[in-house]
Symmetry: C2
Subunit: 114 residues, 2 copies
DNA sequence: TGTATATTCAACCCGAAGGTTGATTAACCC
DNA sequence: GGGTTAATCAACCTTCGGGTTGAATATACA
């Protein structure tokens, strides 16, 4: 099993702190200190979280004087959505197939015991 | 930060072995041994993976003689798709806003330096 | 009843993940 | 240049996740 970029994205999103950071960034860009403010953890810890998000391609950090401005990059979300949709379709199809199968069983049963 | 069910789903999907198990189950139900066969790890390790998937609600295990038959449950995937779509929409909107902003800047610039 | 098979439980190992504190780098401002 | 602020780097601690092996449980079968 090759290491997929999907690993990094799912791993990044598995942490509630990181999802909260993304939620904050969805309302606009922010610096590391601004992002860290609402959390009861150190700025260094938040900095680590940002590194994880950056590795997953979910955010981009740019230098701006002594600040690092963070902004979202929705690209990996598209990949994720494709993955989810693919599986949902597969599974829904299977469920449809199962439904049909059960319906057939039912009908056959009804025919045998009218 | 309350522990969300989303945590369990993202965590479950972060592991490539577990995603492979889901891929296998997308083609139909299977027993633990059947699921374990393709992997170079022990049956016990696979059993643990299945527990993680079950906790996330992604699979259901039913007793069948001495076997445990596993089947997918696509429900959490729907929740996930909703989450992803919500964020994608938010972010795409922001990007549209940024695009418009940059376009406005450009136009203003062109007016000032014709 | 006894044995084989399927699966889980329990105890353990090891490395990675999330947190801390302290030091370092980089840019601004007086 | 000297001091302040923003952020990262480095070292460390503790918890958790994925793996192992060995024992226990449950069911089928002869």
């Amino acid at each position: 099993m090759i290491a997929e970029p999907l690993d990094a994205v799912f791993t990044a999103l598995a942490d509630p702190t990181r999802r909260a950071i993304l939620a904050r960034l969805a309302t606009g860009t922010a610096t590391v200190n601004e992002l860290a403010a609402p959390f009861p953890i150190s700025v260094q810890a938040v900095s680590k979280h940002l590194a994880v998000l950056e590795r997953a391609g979910l955010i981009v950090r740019t230098r701006e004087a002594q600040w690092r401005r963070c902004r979202l990059d929705p690209a990996p979300l598209r990949t994720l959505a494709e993955w989810v949709d693919k599986y949902r379709r597969l599974w829904d199809d299977r469920y449809d197939a199962l439904d049909n199968y059960l319906r057939d069983l039912e009908e056959t049963h009804n025919e045998q015991t009218p």
